[in-house]
């Protein structure tokens, strides 16, 4: 039954209100990004000036008789010779005074210097948009950013390979083989989510210290090759949606169990495999605690997250550098998310909603 869609004014109005309210909410929610971008484009002077705008702005100046004069917005009716004018013009301040100050008008230099009955302190100033990109270059070179990036990339790729291989195998075992005790083991796997990290971290750290792995990447990479609850669950759920008849048909044709995994399941499960990949790249990129405890003694191996966290101490008085560093750290996961949103959403939905 097809009905012609008719315009319903009440519904359209409601839709407009709900959508614009949501948009306002979203803008508030994401406003720290604007803060970050604006702050990272400022010079220290711009941050120091009281009453300066939130965007990167510089005070407009005007060169007059070989001097750089600051510009101010002056109501023209306070100035001698233009008492009738209702305009507010940008004038250059020649001589400061608390009651009256001397100005020139850059647009009307022939008028010469004239006095206005205003306190220069109380005046607004015309700001010009003046972004500076030197904060990025300063962060880039001062903390050896290229090395941090390559360390982080190495960590992300190595652990993603580990997680992908191990979790695929384990999920295959849990989804396609029937044996006594399997469901109990699966419950144990899920229950590891509730285990507080420090119960296992303390002995593991002590052990890795004894065998000399602290200060290397090994304690962070090796465990990723031994599967984890979230990714196994995600993959198992997806494998279970693929009909077993396909496996059986392949096995009748002589395929081994391993061949069934590589030729039947993996090609069909590519969306969820991609979800595991993007999740893990982002996870490794953002991981802070692991690298902090295992690599804090080895500066050369630091990933971006650990290096960025030291900014608070080093650049406490230089918010422009902190925000530039934050932007440089988050840009890669952000781009990855923008291009792969579908896989993120799908992966989360499976773990949260599936039984």
């Amino acid at each position: 039954m097809a009905t012609a869609s008719t315009f319903k004014p009440r519904r359209a109005a409601k839709s407009l209100v709900v959508t614009s309210l949501t948009l306002v909410l979203l803008l508030l929610f994401l406003s720290p990004f604007a803060f970050m971008v604006f702050t990272s484009l400022k010079t220290p002077e711009q941050i120091g000036v009281i009453g300066s705008p939130i965007w990167p702005a510089a005070v407009a100046t005007f060169e007059y008789n070989g001097k750089n004069l600051d510009m101010f917005n002056v109501p023209m009716n306070k100035c001698e010779g233009s008492e009738e004018s209702s305009a507010t013009n940008g004038l250059a301040l020649v001589k400061k005074g608390t009651r009256a100050s001397t100005f020139v008008d850059p647009d009307d230099l022939e008028r010469g210097e004239f006095i206005c009955q205003v306190s220069w302190r109380a005046l607004d100033r015309p700001w010009t948009f003046a972004p500076t990109f030197s904060n990025y270059t300063e962060v880039w070179s001062s903390i050896n950013f290229p090395r941090l990036l390559s360390n982080t990339l190495f960590y992300a790729v190595a652990t993603t390979v580990g997680v992908l291989i191990s979790c695929t195998l384990v999920a295959y075992g849990f989804s396609r083989f029937d044996f006594p005790g399997r469901d109990l083991l699966f419950v144990v796997l899920i229950a590891t989510i509730f285990l507080p990290g420090f119960v296992t971290v303390i002995p593991t750290y002590t052990f890795f210290q004894r065998i000399g792995w602290v200060g290397t990447w090994l304690p962070l990479i090796v465990p990723s090759f031994f599967a984890n609850a979230f990714d196994v669950f995600l993959l198992r759920q997806y494998f279970m949606t693929i009909p077993r008849e396909m496996d059986e048909a392949a096995m009748i044709d002589g395929a081994s169990r391993f061949r069934v995994l590589t030729s039947i399941l993996v090609p069909q499960a590519y969306p969820v495999l991609l979800a595991v990949i993007v999740f893990h790249i982002v996870f490794a990129w953002n991981d802070y605690f692991g690298p902090l405890i295992y690599l804090s003694t080895n500066r050369a191996a630091w990933p971006v997250s650990v290096a960025l966290s030291t900014f608070n101490g080093i650049y406490g008085q230089k918010p422009q550098l902190i925000q530039a560093g934050a932007l440089m750290t988050l840009i890669i996961p952000l781009l990855l998310f923008i291009f792969a949103q579908r896989f993120f959403v799908q992966g989360i939905v499976i773990t949260g909603v599936d039984k």
Binding site: F35, I190, L195, F207, A227, A326, Q341, F344, V345
Partner: protein, 333 residues
């Protein structure tokens, strides 16, 4: 994910069941175990043995700084005796609260926000009158993937008492400059500061709520309407029971997360407990004991206390689930 656990424990395998298996079944078992062996080995080496080791540590006096030269000794229950009267954990009066109370207090503020805010946004995303749902959904989720340290610095800048946008907005709304909050540096404002810094983490919970909401069959709403239910009634009688499994999921993960909360105070207030010891969370104290002071034994003792507390709370939550969590299509026995 937790429905597996909610069904109760599966039956233990018996030797008799194994004896009665056909050779083909035994072969399947061997192969299955082979495929799950990466996890079995990993569980044994990186989970089971460490749990056991940290239990043993808790009865010793192991410190890494002197552990290399001197041999650690068993000290019986000394660590536990020290722990039960450690004012840094339990102190309830006086200037600074104990770290356990700080954790519980912050959890009590943060958990409702961590459930209701994503649920509210998910309900908004699910509204029929919202245009561009897909774009909004991605945009509200997006901050979740921002590196934690970067997100903390962005919000730290936003909440800077002098130059941050939040106080500038408050001033332009007419709040006198003297009475704007000092956020992370003020004992009374530091917990709201952390809650605000945490709202960028709602993306995951929001998506799960949204998926739950989208899974509610529309004919249930139609039926409720026919029966004369208003919006409020249909939320409590239809929406709430139908999404109770995802509420349960987010609740359990939220509780487990909040018990272990410490990375934000570690980065924002440099793990000092400032202002006035108000941010010395239990796990931060544990982290400093273990990592800064390298006192493995006392750290392990505290970790076991935490393990025990989380266990009690999660067991309670799973027990409570049978009274309020409804799994459609799953017959409750």
């Amino acid at each position: 994910m937790f429905q597996e656990l909610n069904r109760g424990l599966p039956k233990l395998p018996t030797i008799r069941a194994y004896r009665e298996m056909t050779p083909l079944k035994r072969r399947e078992m061997r192969e299955g175990l082979l495929y799950i062996s990466p996890w079995l080995i990993g569980f044994f080496v990186f989970t089971f043995l460490p749990i056991l080791a940290s239990l043993i540590f808790s009865f010793m006096n192991l410190r890494i700084t002197d552990g290399i030269t001197s041999t650690p000794k068993f000290v019986g229950l000394d660590n536990y005796a020290q722990m039960v009267k450690d004012p840094q954990i339990w102190s309830i009066s006086g200037g600074t609260r104990g770290s356990l109370w700080i954790t519980l207090f912050f959890g009590a503020i943060s958990l409702p926000v961590g459930i209701l805010l994503p649920l509210g946004i998910a309900l908004l995303m699910n509204a029929r009158s919202l245009k561009g749902q897909m774009v909004f959904r991605s945009a509200f989720y997006m901050p979740y993937i921002i590196p934690f340290v970067a997100a903390v610095f962005l919000w730290g800048g936003m909440l800077n008492p002098e130059s941050g946008w939040i106080n500038r907005a408050l001033i332009s709304l007419g709040v006198p400059k003297e009475s704007t909050p000092n956020w992370a540096n003020d004992v009374n404002w530091v917990y709201p500061t952390y809650v605000i810094m945490g709202i960028w983490g709602i993306g995951n919970a929001m998506l799960i709520f949204l998926a739950g909401l989208q899974g509610v069959p529309t004919d249930l709403y139609d039926a409720a309407k026919v029966d004369g239910a208003n919006g409020w009634q249909s939320f409590w009688k239809v929406t709430f029971p139908m999404i109770s499994p995802v509420i349960f999921y987010n609740l359990v993960l939220g509780v487990v997360f909040l018990f272990q909360y410490f990375l934000v105070p570690l980065v924002v207030n440099q793990g000092t407990g400032r202002p006035g010891g108000a941010t010395m969370f239990f796990n931060l104290y544990l982290y400093k004991t273990f990592f800064t002071f390298q006192n493995m034994s006392y750290g392990a003792t505290m970790a076991w206390l935490l393990f025990f507390l989380i266990l009690i709370v999660t067991v309670f939550l799973f027990w409570s689930a049978k009274y309020w969590v409804y799994y459609a299509g799953d017959k409750r026995s």
